[in-house]
């Protein structure tokens, strides 16, 4: 088959070929969806939201350990993405970029909430702390969820990003603003702690 260079084709033909090469929405990668969203396509946002929101919600839920706060942060994150969509560097991986914005929103929210209100008891003293007796987990998945919740924040973030969200170590390092070595170390230490916690679970009758 003879090969024709683009310069010999009429301009309309070139445009048609270019458009036909553009993948459909369902076939598009998250990066292509983000680029289309930047170009003003609302449908691509719908699909992008469907793809990234579960991962983002899972990450925020494990950061905050509170569903309402996580959903508030999800809304804040998407409003920031909407405002900053022009600053998205085309071709850069979307999920790490979005997760980094979510993490920044979480840190900002925590910093601004440094004044905590506490309800006093009728006699004016601080109420005694209530220790909730948690039943022992019966399923391994429940035990794992509890063990993840018990991890220090730095280890928890690294484990959630690499094991639950499915990012590579390099991508997780981008989100956390840390080196890859630091992320590997956090994951390793987090693993060790998880293993200890889960051994206790397996010993319980």
């Amino acid at each position: 088959m003879p090969s024709y260079s683009a310069s010999f084709l009429p301009a309309l033909e070139v445009a048609r070929l270019t458009l036909s090469r553009r993948p459909s929405l369902a076939e598009s990668t998250s990066e292509q969806l983000m680029e289309r969203y930047v170009d003003g396509e609302a449908e691509s946002f719908e699909l992008l939201y469907r793809r990234v929101s579960p991962n983002l919600m899972g990450y925020l839920l494990r950061l905050t350990r509170n569903r309402e706060r996580a959903e508030d942060l999800l809304q804040i994150t998407f409003s920031k993405i909407h405002r900053a969509r022009g600053s998205y560097l085309r071709g850069a991986p979307v999920l790490p970029w979005i997760l980094a914005i979510a993490r920044r929103s979480f840190l900002d929210e925590r910093r601004s909430a440094h004044v905590r209100t506490e309800d006093l008891s009728p006699d004016g003293s601080l109420p005694e702390q209530q220790h909730e007796e948690r039943p022992l987990p019966t399923e391994l998945s429940d035990a794992l969820e509890i063990a993840i919740g018990r991890l220090p924040e730095t280890y928890r973030e690294a484990i959630v990003l690499t094991k639950i969200t499915g990012l590579s170590v390099a991508e997780a390092a981008t989100v956390l603003g840390a080196t890859e070595t630091a992320v590997k170390l956090r994951v390793h230490r987090g693993y060790n702690q998880l293993r200890k916690d889960l051994e206790q679970y397996s010993r319980t009758p």
Partner: protein, 234 residues
Amino acid sequence: MSMPKPDPLAELPWPKPERPREEVSTAIRSACTKNLCPVQHMSAGMRLTLCIAASSIVAAAAFWFGIRNDRSELGLRMGVYGALGWAIVQAVVLFAAFGPRRGGMAARTLRLALAFAVPVLYVGYLTLSAWSFVPFNQFSHGARAGHAMSCALVALVLGAVVSGGVLLAWRGTDPATPRLSGALAGLVGGVGGALAVGIGCPSHEAWHLWVSHGLVVIALGAVGFAAGRRLLAP
């Protein structure tokens, strides 16, 4: 050949990603798609070009100031050569710090190393270009102190113009390490401002160069570090 070690926790039932409530999703969708229109998008190359242009304009203004005030030809020439040499360093720092990568930004280690290396190299360059040295008590009094103060102020203003240009060009692009990026923007701007003043400044005395031209770089690096979170995070 050794086999890769199996992941001890690979078989665990890791939690599945969670979906937000439908009303939350509806609110987000309507907020993000209401009156959606294409946004002006600036490529990374364009942003880098704008930063170098800001630095060049400042250097050109200082060169014009030097000619107007009859600075010696040798002094002007040395200042211009220095500015040209450091323009390459500035471009390298900007590219390494803000240039596009597949993973977003360059490795944090490289950017941290640059944040430490740039002021050290610049103070080293100032030390090498000093022709004379007076004791500090002579430098800190009289006309020398006045000249140092005016030089530092002009360098600060010019550096702030370049740093501001860099921060605005890359506004909202770094959600992960905005403070570090801000510090690098401040350092690049500080070097730009200090070099521009160096073109028109007749003094080659060591204390003058360290205080008026060197401290400005460090000060603007600190300002960039503080402003980075607000300006560079989306």
